[in-house]
Symmetry: C3
Subunit: 346 residues, 3 copies
Amino acid sequence: MQASHDTSLTGSLQLTKTGRLKHFLTITGLSKELLTEILDTADSLIEVGERNIKKVPLLRGKTVVNLFFEASTRTRSTFELAAKRLSADVLNLNINTSATSKGESLSDTLKNLEAMASDMFVVRHAQSGAAHFIAESVTPGVSIVNAGDGWHAHPTQAMLDMLTIRQNKGKFEGLRVAIIGDILHSRVARSQIRALNTLGVKEVRVIAPNTLLPKHVESLGVTVYNSMDEGLKDLDVIIMLRLQRERMQGALLPSESEYYNLYGLTTERLKMAKPDAIVMHPGPINRGVEIESEVADGEQSVILDQVTNGIAIRMAVMSMAMGGQMEERQLKQKTHNELSESEERL
Amino acid sequence: MQASHDTSLTGSLQLTKTGRLKHFLTITGLSKELLTEILDTADSLIEVGERNIKKVPLLRGKTVVNLFFEASTRTRSTFELAAKRLSADVLNLNINTSATSKGESLSDTLKNLEAMASDMFVVRHAQSGAAHFIAESVTPGVSIVNAGDGWHAHPTQAMLDMLTIRQNKGKFEGLRVAIIGDILHSRVARSQIRALNTLGVKEVRVIAPNTLLPKHVESLGVTVYNSMDEGLKDLDVIIMLRLQRERMQGALLPSESEYYNLYGLTTERLKMAKPDAIVMHPGPINRGVEIESEVADGEQSVILDQVTNGIAIRMAVMSMAMGGQMEERQLKQKTHNELSESEERL
Amino acid sequence: MQASHDTSLTGSLQLTKTGRLKHFLTITGLSKELLTEILDTADSLIEVGERNIKKVPLLRGKTVVNLFFEASTRTRSTFELAAKRLSADVLNLNINTSATSKGESLSDTLKNLEAMASDMFVVRHAQSGAAHFIAESVTPGVSIVNAGDGWHAHPTQAMLDMLTIRQNKGKFEGLRVAIIGDILHSRVARSQIRALNTLGVKEVRVIAPNTLLPKHVESLGVTVYNSMDEGLKDLDVIIMLRLQRERMQGALLPSESEYYNLYGLTTERLKMAKPDAIVMHPGPINRGVEIESEVADGEQSVILDQVTNGIAIRMAVMSMAMGGQMEERQLKQKTHNELSESEERL
């Protein structure tokens, strides 16, 4: 489905000539070094959220547009807070209810926003590849951050998960990690699998019924389990997915209670994993559907740490991508000046 | 109805160990000294609204979340402006249209917002006691300000009324004040009665038909009048309530015009009060329903002063509550450090 | 229709006693010098959009309220960005969904917002004359900027067009300019005609079928053409209007394709104008309805420059009008102080 984007070309689209981040679209094509740089930057920004004055001037005077073609209060709020703590000016646009209703094309809407001297678009779209499409056509100097596109990717969510794992486990080497639930419809799962493999965990498992697994899922570098009891064995990290009830269309699953019986994470089942395994979930939680309340609120849960880390990761990615763009703008300006000078000399 | 919250415990929930404000939920349980401190702080902040640069750095780098479970553009705007003039970052969330529609519980939504390092929730909710419930369960260090909960309380509205009275009358001692209209359904009236009695006015009257009075209303410390002509006599302050037409269900009142005949404040009736009596109304006004246009716009009206004072009171309450929370955070940090030191010594 | 507002009185309503801008309601009544001052100020502010830090402190600590009685994400966004780059605090109010639904009058809503110490209202309204009405009744010291009122005026749009023409042509003298399309329903066209004539172009043409022209349109100072082939001859500037399909009611036009055949701007037709003629459009574009895609994206198109200039013009108008109001406030304060002093001497 997203094959055309999962190439090394995507990597280069995201990077400046000197290898710095300039867009953040997908984990695919990003090196272990770059992912580690994102985690390190986020680590240093976590401290900002603990200060009395939660502000750094990294994006001061920059205009960040939250361009949400699909409503998501939660994700929009984290990006809005991250941008404001970086001192940016933020414009929230919910595009369903605006320009496109007047029949303007996506491309024209974007050209207009660029002409308003926007510096960054945080894009959420129901269609896979939307953020890539925009990054390919956007004016040089403007940064695109993918806040979730269809079933394709949700890379800031994946990176906040990586940060949470590193905080708790200290490293990625040697870890066994499982992603549990509706892998088929999850943009998060795809991004997580890429990130985990790039960062060098020992094993990535997916645990789900076959109806909720993409075809040829093994080719992404995962081991497949259909049974919780087997899949949970020896795990260091358990990543639950949200059961997107609105996406289910009856045929894939018999009933919520049967799903819970087979794939819900209960206190009993949690004992199958390592005693110090951590439990993660992207939220919002469906208590009693994919996870037992006691587990969600229990000692092994790091679900709220994920939320805190989400702000830090978004601040990190936004400031790094803007830094890369500023470098390119300066380079362009320098080349332009040199050309002018040599013209003058002629 | 709200008996469980109207205890001295509520007072202590709102205060730090040293007696400073840390949440602002209700007038109940707050001392005359504390209410006076709020008024004095607001007085000093009124000047900010008159400056060329209407900004003070009291909440700089703090994150204020306007958490409105019930829509109210007017109240939300005043809190948003107050927070921005205190230099806070503001996030507006209308919860009807967001997370809860995905089936997340209130408690989970709040835990998530706390994990984003929010410093203050301004809460509006249709259910009485909602702000208390949140204050009881919120992470230490996060401040709750009640922006109206069901029929229970609307304490910032009550305090802006107190500020307006003090501005015009100089003191509370010796004043006769009447609250007129739908006391039964008014969260404002309950808060006003508490505040007036705490601040030491001579007499608080309520003027309304019995159908619009709560049972045992006298126990709140008021004198009951069913007739305007009698109730208006010797008054210093007249507080009209808005007739919430949407809350009326036919049975309580015969008709709007009959209500106006009996309880509307007209130029004629106003003459029954003291010649220097002031006329107040929380807005929005229903002209010709509970108040005559000439009275609303007349010389004795201080209705627009109430609006101006509303910004100052909200700035005062937000900065005081945040100050109390900062004190508690530092105390906790200090205790934590001392414990660490003594552990090291062992 | 708007006759009552198109008088010299409107001019004086917009100006301080010393002739500085204090409201920006309409082009009518503004001198060539003042329009030139707006263009010069905007020119100097364009540079702000090219800086690393796109911020100037001209409206720091001021409260700008975007008061939109008619939804327009595009216009609202440009005003919001302009205000934020001037360092103002911005409050967005969509009045359809707020106070007026509670039955409050426009006048009461405004009085309330003024009492919150708002400094400027950016007003969009479906009714012609709304901004004037508000400017006439607003508290002295508060500035009104018209962001489009009915069929009457959209003066910031007209001024960003003037800025774009001056950027490309260097001057107004000697220029032939045509406005093409639905003049009848266009608030922009009225403002453009006034501005072009005031700034001294050689000729303003309107090109449209008679059904889309106001009666007596010649009295505005334009030459009328019903045919594109004749009207385009010798043009320096071509201003296309958007075909407001939602305003068409069947009777005025036979069909979109016939309209395009007669009045669409195609590559072929463009050749009738001067070879260096520029093509303008206020957006959003209906490609293939009033303009061919190749023309909209072609070398002669300056459509995206118009968008960029829109931010600069709005920043210019907002800062100039606020400057005028500050002068009046100081003058009033000075007079007040002098009166007090002379009273004291008595």
